[in-house]
Amino acid sequence: MPWLGVGLLIGVLGIAALIPLASYDVVADVDPTRAFAGPGLRHPLGTDHLGRDILWRMLLASRAFVGPGLLACLVCLGFGLPLGAAAGWFSGAVAAVIRYLFTVVQGLPRFILVLLALSIYGNRPSVLAIAAGLAYAPTLGEAIFERIEGLRSSEFIAAHRAHGVSETRLLLVHLLWGACRRLLARHLLALFAFLLILETTLSYLGFGVEQPHPSWGNMLAFDLDHDGSGWMPLVAPATAIWLVIAATVWVRQGLAEEEHGA
């Protein structure tokens, strides 16, 4: 299963990266006369209420969350990793202050923080990504802190110290890379899935990605209650959302097993 997950995720990233090269144009592909055409050769998944090709929109919609998802991961790493590592490494007052910050942010439900940020700073994918990344950073930071604090005084580290390994190298190579990389990957995958859920939910509720640009969320919002829309406008985006979330979970499970096994 983990490898299937990796494959799926690489596929989605690939589509999001390559789709701008395709000649499809969200603006030009409007023709109300062919609205709700069923699946066929020309439109493998049929068309929506404005006669737009569902398959193309499905593929294009991957951009709505892949870019912001990666940005959110970067933001989260940028804040969560150094703060968590500092707290774990120095402990004492530094750790107390950093962990207090973590607790404050974690006390506010993540979804609410993101919603507030969007309503304040404008409804843009970058705001969504940065807000989600920052809201998730304490969770990542806490995890890193616990891991490093646990190992800091362990025999494993003491042994390396005895061999004359420098403190920086010890922290960067042995602790962060050696002991935390799978943990990091697991959290970033969780964040990525969280962002997908956020983005599709907000777009569904009319607060995220806006027409004419497609999102799996806003595709779900529109066509369900039309007469004669068929099932495809519902089934296609719903399945896609499920698959991507499932993929992140599969990979996370694989990483967790590897970590426990190692």
Partner: protein, 502 residues
């Protein structure tokens, strides 16, 4: 599923002796039921059931007395005396009197009240109670039809201590009016129940109204089909077909006094060039834009065709690609493959529209497609109301807007097209038009006003500060159980007293 549903669910108990209510859906429940602070349409609608003004609209949309019984305007048109109905009582039993009218005007004018309705009374210089049933109003300047401006709702003076009224006053959800229905409960599920006021001075048939909040617009039409509500204030165009085919639902068309437009930002290149504006206007296939969102009449200028001020001599613009291309070339653009370019820069514009304007999305998407097919790249954004006001009205940071203007019966386009107008964000300025609008504002002669506005219509249409699109037919949906239904295009429930429900 088939076995499970009937087994687990309760049956609807017969409603029996209690008359069924008329349930209608709103996207958002009224936030405050105090006419002094009404800002949304849902508030305007519910106020129409609970409160009354001195005058109201007849079914032909002419001003007729409501709480007023008779009115006399002085010969110099600078004052009027209004005799009030004597048999009217407030919902708490108190007798309605001239003090209430005077209080309402003073309260709306009081700057401490900070009422969004302030503008409706600023033309009144003074209001005094001559006797308990007579009010005298004096005006700042001559008014030729003051009764048209006296539709605002009257508040009960005895409820308030001071003319500075506050949003926090308990009146906000326990209002007292003189209207046919009284608000009996503001419920926990955001619904509002209104019952017929037994001592109402006039006639009203329906026993109970219930406002239901249905935040998901996609869902409203389904609910009337499922008979979960009886009335839908505004049907989305895409739901029209479904409702038309439903034998238990009747559609009521009504025309609002509003028209749609694509506005240019005249202070920006290249829209400051009238040839470019003309060219862009000629690229638009208006009927194709209108078709997916409903039916309506096209307009050639800033009035609706049914208005006395509409100039029928000005023709509506038809799509003309060749002429558009010729105009763009004149303005220095060259067609480079699929796109128009000037000095190597492609012609690319940003169009903004309001997020809560439900049908605007489809129009913008279609418009984008049309422009793009003609070699003009257009990027779309949808703004919420506060972003809209800041970005468009204040910062004027846009190229094109798709929006609409809605007018009251005065159809005063001064704000939109006068160079000093407060809503003139496009930056339109023409001394001739300014003069025409000033004169129209000052005149007391309806004939002259008509002539002036028609001239202004022709002048504005010629300069093309915006592409005038259409006035859209709106549809209300109502169960066939409701009869005698006439709908007011703006306040919706104005004629509700004569409705009946089987």
């Amino acid at each position: 599923m088939t076995r499970l549903v009937p087994a687990t669910l309760l049956m609807l108990s017969a409603l029996g002796a209690h008359a069924a209510p008329l349930r209608y859906a709103e996207d958002r429940a009224p936030g405050i039921v105090n006419p002094a602070f009404a800002t949304s349409m849902s508030e305007a609608r519910i106020n129409e059931l609970i409160f009354e003004g001195l005058f109201t609209d007849s079914q032909e949309l002419a001003s007729v007395p409501k709480l007023a019984e008779r009115a006399e305007v002085a010969a110099d048109k600078r004052s009027m005396v209004i005799g009030l109905r004597r048999e009217v009582t407030w919902h708490d039993g108190t007798v309605f009197s001239a003090d209430d009218v005077v209080f309402t005007i003073k309260a709306l004018q009081d700057p401490r009240t900070a009422s969004p309705e302030m503008g409706r009374v600023e033309w009144i210089a003074n209001a005094e109670a001559v006797d308990p049933h007579t009010v005298k109003l004096t005006f700042h300047q001559p008014e030729f039809a003051p009764e048209d401006k006296l539709h605002f709702k009257i508040l009960p003076a005895h409820h308030f201590r001071d003319t500075a009224i506050s949003r926090s006053d308990p009146f906000r959800n326990r209002p007292i009016g003189t209207g046919p229905w009284t608000l009996t409960s503001y419920n926990d599920d955001n619904s509002i129940t209104l019952q017929r006021y037994r001592d109402y001075w006039g006639d009203a048939r329906i026993d109970e109204f219930r406002m239901r909040e249905v935040a998901d617009k996609n869902y409203q039409a389904k609910l009337i089909v499922y008979e979960s509500i009886e009335a839908l204030v505004r049907v989305l165009p895409r739901d029209l077909a479904t409702l038309q085919n439903d034998r238990k639902v009747e559609l009521y068309p009504y025309q609002t006094n509003s028209w749609w437009y694509v506005g240019f930002n005249l202070s920006r290149e290249p829209m400051d060039d009238p040839r470019v504006r003309q060219a862009l206007a000629l690229m638009v296939d208006v009927p194709e834009l209108l078709a997916p969102i409903g039916t309506g009449d096209r307009v050639s200028g800033p009035f609706v065709p049914s208005s006395p001020f509409y100039n029928h001599d000005v023709p509506v613009l038809e799509q003309n690609i060749e002429r558009a291309a010729a105009l763009l070339r004149e303005a220095g653009f060259e067609r480079d493959g699929r796109t128009w370019k000037r000095d190597g820069q492609p012609l690319a514009l940003r169009i903004a529209s309001q997020k809560n304007l439900e049908t605007a999305q489809d129009v913008v998407i279609n418009l984008q497609t049309q422009f793009q097919n003609q070699g003009v790249r257009v990027e779309a954004t949808f703004l919420d109301i506060s972003d809209w006001k800041r970005q468009i009205w204040t910062d004027r940071d846009y190229d094109l807007v798709l929006s609409l203007w809605t007018f009251d019966r005065n159809e005063d386009i001064h704000k939109q097209f006068h160079s000093s107008g407060s809503r003139n964000f496009s930056g339109y300025a023409n001394p001739e038009v300014d003069e025409l609008l000033d004169k129209a504002k000052a005149t007391t002669d309806p004939q002259e006003k008509r002539a002036l506005f028609r001239q202004a219509h022709a002048k504005i249409a010629q300069e093309q500060p915006m592409v005038f699109l259409w006035t859209l037919d709106s549809y209300a949906a109502m169960t066939t159980k409701a009869q005698n239904v006439v709908i007011h295009p703006f306040t919706f429930f104005t004629f509700a007293p004569s409705w009946t429900l089987r």
